[in-house]
């Protein structure tokens, strides 16, 4: 019933009515990208930083200490694990295979657990680690920015963190992500 109020003298500012559509389109683009992101995965600020220092008793030989210096010399992995951690159990066979491939030494950070349980675990399922340091009160793990065991760090020959993997490593992860990283780190060290 109401006629469009066309006024020859005044041009209605029709572009104003497009604003909601434009804003919404921007939002849709954001959502579309957002769907591809994992909201729980956190980037670590420690990438390209020297590995945080520690000095911990070894799980298998509590009289001996290991420190971040063991990570220097060649590329290595540092894996944070515990026997109460369900995903660590899932990951363990993959770590065994990686250790068997002798591509890279794996160091462990034994996190908030009891020594006897850790020893039993390694005895039952095998020991992929060159050595594991015991972080029984979890203080060192905080320095490493741990938020969900297991977590695995790729460290270069200078002891600098180059990559962080959160959650259990699958064999695919190893072959497609971690191994290429380590190879390129080794190649880099050759130059």
């Amino acid at each position: 019933m109401s006629q469009p109020t066309e006024d020859p003298k005044e041009k209605p500012k029709r572009w104003i009515y497009i604003i909601p559509l434009v804003l919404f389109s921007v939002l849709m683009i954001v959502f579309f990208i957002g769907l591809g992101l994992n909201p729980r995965l956190l980037p670590s600020p420690l990438i390209d930083q020297p590995a945080p220092g520690f000095n911990l008793a070894r799980l298998k030989a509590p009289d001996e200490m290991i420190s971040q210096d063991v990570l220097k010399g060649e590329p290595s992995l540092l894996n944070i694990w515990a026997t109460w951690c369900v995903s660590c159990r899932v990951e363990h066979p993959v770590l065994m295979k990686i250790a068997a491939s002798k591509e890279v030494p794996i160091f462990g950070l034994f996190y908030k657990d009891e020594r006897s349980k850790g020893l039993a675990w390694l005895k039952d399922y095998g020991d992929p680690y060159v050595a594991s340091g015991m972080d029984l009160d979890g203080k060192i793990a905080i320095d490493w920015g741990l938020y969900g065991a297991p977590e695995t760090f790729v460290i270069d020959k200078d002891g600098v963190i180059r990559y962080k993997h959160v959650g259990p490593i699958t064999w695919d992860d190893w072959q497609n992500i971690l191994l290429p990283k380590i190879k390129s780190l080794r190649a880099g060290s050759g130059v």
Binding site: P4, R14, P20, F24, S25, M28, V30, F31, L35, P39
Partner: protein, 660 residues
């Protein structure tokens, strides 16, 4: 066999929804009354079919049919009957079906009352609702079928999330969805107007009750959710600015703006485009909320475990619905403009200002909720935006809104002299200052600016309401008759505003004067909060129907007289092994005493960790919500939405002939 019937009913509902959407819609465009006439029976048939599907799912819950995957995942043979009924919406698939169910219910109600509107309008509205129904039925059938079977059927179900085994949590989702889906009705009216390129002068009057009902349901839903979080989560908080809470709060903000803008459109035929835009935005935000909760783009306490196909589906649906609506708005809205002049100091302007402020607040909440996502999508890394941010920006934005509440309903339509307005408002303002300051002195605890300012705002609105009442009655000799002659709409408005003020009081005072203690208590230990002394008596083991519990006993003394005993519980549910705290609360209008039980800390001394809270005036937060709901209900029952509908129809019939 029976679950398959449910599935079949939904498939039939989908095909009926297609008919309901397309044929009346085409009829509207082609001006074919016979096609438009399909709207009503189609809407009713779709409702019956969805009801059948929904009823069958409920039946599967009641009879423990664990061969249905959804039932097996969300129910258990120990689950009490009431939670088997509410368990239907206890997880993604069923709650989606509830969405569809409520949508088809609203549509059916429209269809029943469709004679109240011109045939073309009701055909358009039912068609638009049909399109939305198609989207959700497709979503349900293709990504989230609640009737999927599992073979072999498990012996028992995985149980309903214990957090949801609570009477309030049983009614919170339907309330909330009734609000969300309720905004589909004003949305459908808005889209119909845009499609037609004309807006009937009675349009706002048709839409207003629907917007009000949706707003009432949403208010109730949010209020219940917040109350539930307060007593169930066990740490005394009631609003966490969680993405999902924000998703329900945003349509509330624009819905509030909508009902105010509708008032201007109804009374003065002004701000039509603005009203239409708010109607579109309110429903779009309801859809956005569904997307945020069910797609997994944001982490949230409430989020359903999600899978990517669902996210993509609902994003595409959101894009289509909102994209088409805003495109229509861009093409057509300028044609609906009216030129209605009003002065800077006029009720139109006050209501417009308030709705603009509410929209700004909504945009702020939206930006805060999505900023981490936007930043990450642009490769800017991860950040969090949490309660400290929101409370810092939200409160300053709300202050002008509350101030305007006191002004807006006092101003005259069209134009008012500033001096007149100042005259009218001077007294309420002065009294507000006096009351707030006086009350601050009376209140226990140290004087605080926040508390004073909250009280000031509250009294400002209350005084202004009283002044208005006096003003309205100034020319009547008989007060009772004068009161009766004031329309319900006005009482509803004032009631809702008073409700808002109650909430403001609750927030301001409880945030300032609350005291809390986290401590270990062994039997005999005591602690004093405010004027209350809490004495820990001990903990006993007790078993419930499907859980076992540690039940604590805490005696509370006031001036060395024992006044009550609280029994906070810590439950372990048998099936899921979830631990749950059931806080014990003693509420009255002046304060809540709140106790929740943690872990046993020392078996020798039987010491437990305990949280004690003394929260003055916190009940007012939800009381305010209740009063707002009441106000909305009073306004809906205003005569002009009922009786005049008939007169309206007569007028319309005579008016419509020449128009076509």
């Amino acid at each position: 066999m029976i679950p398959e019937l449910g599935h079949f009913a939904l498939i039939l509902a989908l095909s009926v929804a297609l008919v309901q959407a397309i044929i009346p819609g085409m009829g509207l465009l082609r001006r074919r009354p016979d096609w438009m006439a399909v709207a009503r029976p189609a809407a009713l048939l779709q409702f019956v079919l969805v009801l059948a599907g929904y009823g069958i799912l409920t039946y599967s819950f009641i009879v423990h049919d664990f061969s249905v995957l959804y039932v097996a995942n969300t129910s258990n043979s120990e689950l009490p009957l009431i939670y088997r009924i509410s368990g239907v919406w206890g997880a993604h698939e069923g709650s989606l079906l509830l969405w569809v169910m409520i949508l088809s219910t609203w549509t059916a109600i429209i269809a029943v009352y469709s004679k109240r509107y011109p045939a073309d309008i009701s055909a358009g509205v039912i068609s638009v609702l049909g399109f939305i129904s198609i989207g959700f039925l497709l979503f349900s059938l293709f990504t989230s079928n609640p009737f999927t079977r599992v073979f072999p059927a498990p012996f028992d179900g995985a149980d309903l999330n214990p957090l949801l085994q609570d009477p309030v949590m049983a009614i919170h989702p339907p309330m909330l969805y009734m609000g969300y889906v309720g905004f589909a009705v004003p949305f459908a009216f808005a889209i119909t107007a845009l499609v037609q390129g004309r807006l009937d002068a009675a349009w706002a009057r048709w839409v207003r009750p629907w917007a009000l009902i949706a707003w009432v349901c949403l208010t109730a839903g949010i209020g219940l959710g917040s109350w539930w979080a307060y007593y169930e989560l066990g740490w005394g908080g009631w609003w966490f600015w969680d993405p999902v809470e924000n998703a329900s709060f945003m349509p509330w903000l624009t819905g509030t703006a909508l009902i105010h803008s509708l008032a201007v459109t109804e009374k003065r035929n002004a701000l039509r485009n603005w009203t239409i835009l708010l109607a579109i935005i309110s429903f779009s935000l309801s859809l956005l909320g569904t997307f945020l909760v069910r797609s997994g783009v944001l982490t949230s306490v409430h989020a359903f475990a999600s899978d990517p196909t669902r996210g993509v589906f609902i994003l595409v649906f959101l894009g289509l619905v909102v994209g088409i609506s805003f495109s229509l708005f861009a093409i057509r809205a300028w044609q609906l403009r009216t030129k209605t002049a009003f002065s800077l100091i006029s009720r139109e302007m006050a209501l417009l200002t308030n709705s603009v402020f509410l929209l700004v607040t909504m945009l702020t909440v939206l930006l805060g909720t999505l900023y981490p996502l936007i930043l990450e999508a642009m490769g800017g890394g991860k950040i969090s935006v949490g309660p400290p941010y929101f409370s810092r920006v939200f409160i300053p934005l709300m202050i002008p809104v509350v101030i305007l509440v006191g002004v807006g309903s006092f101003i005259k339509w069209r134009e008012q002299k500033l001096s007149e307005l100042v005259d009218n408002l001077r007294r309420p303002a002065i009294f507000a200052l006096v009351f707030a300051s006086a009350l601050l002195i009376v209140l226990p605890g140290k004087a605080s600016f926040t508390a004073w300012f909250g009280l000031l705002l509250a009294f400002w609105v209350i005084n202004s309401a009283i002044a208005q009442l006096v003003h309205r009655l100034r020319n009547t000799q008989n007060t009772m008759r004068g009161l009766k002659r004031i329309p319900r709409g006005w009482y509803g408005m004032i009631t809702a505003h008073i409700g808002l003020v109650f909430t403001v009081i609750g927030i301001a005072l409880s945030s300032v004067y609350s005291q809390e203690q986290d401590l270990h208590m062994a039997p005999g230990d005591e602690r004093t909060l405010g004027e209350y002394r809490f004495e820990f008596v001990g903990v006993e083991r007790k078993d419930g129907p499907n859980y076992s519990a540690d039940v604590g006993t805490i005696d509370i003394y006031k001036k060395d007289k024992r006044m009550l005993t609280l029994h906070p519980e810590k439950r372990i549910y048998n099936v899921r092994k979830n631990m749950m705290t059931e806080a014990a609360i003693n509420s009255n209008l002046l304060r809540d005493l709140y106790v929740s039980l943690g872990e046993q800390r020392d078996p020798d001394t039987n010491a437990w960790s305990v949280r004690l809270y003394y929260k003055p005036f916190i009940l007012w937060i939800w009381l305010g919500g209740l009063v707002m709901v009441l106000g909305g209900l009073i306004a809906v029952t205003d005569k002009r939405y009922r009786i005049e509908v008939k007169q309206e129809k007569l007028k319309l019939n005579s008016n419509h002939v020449p128009a076509n």
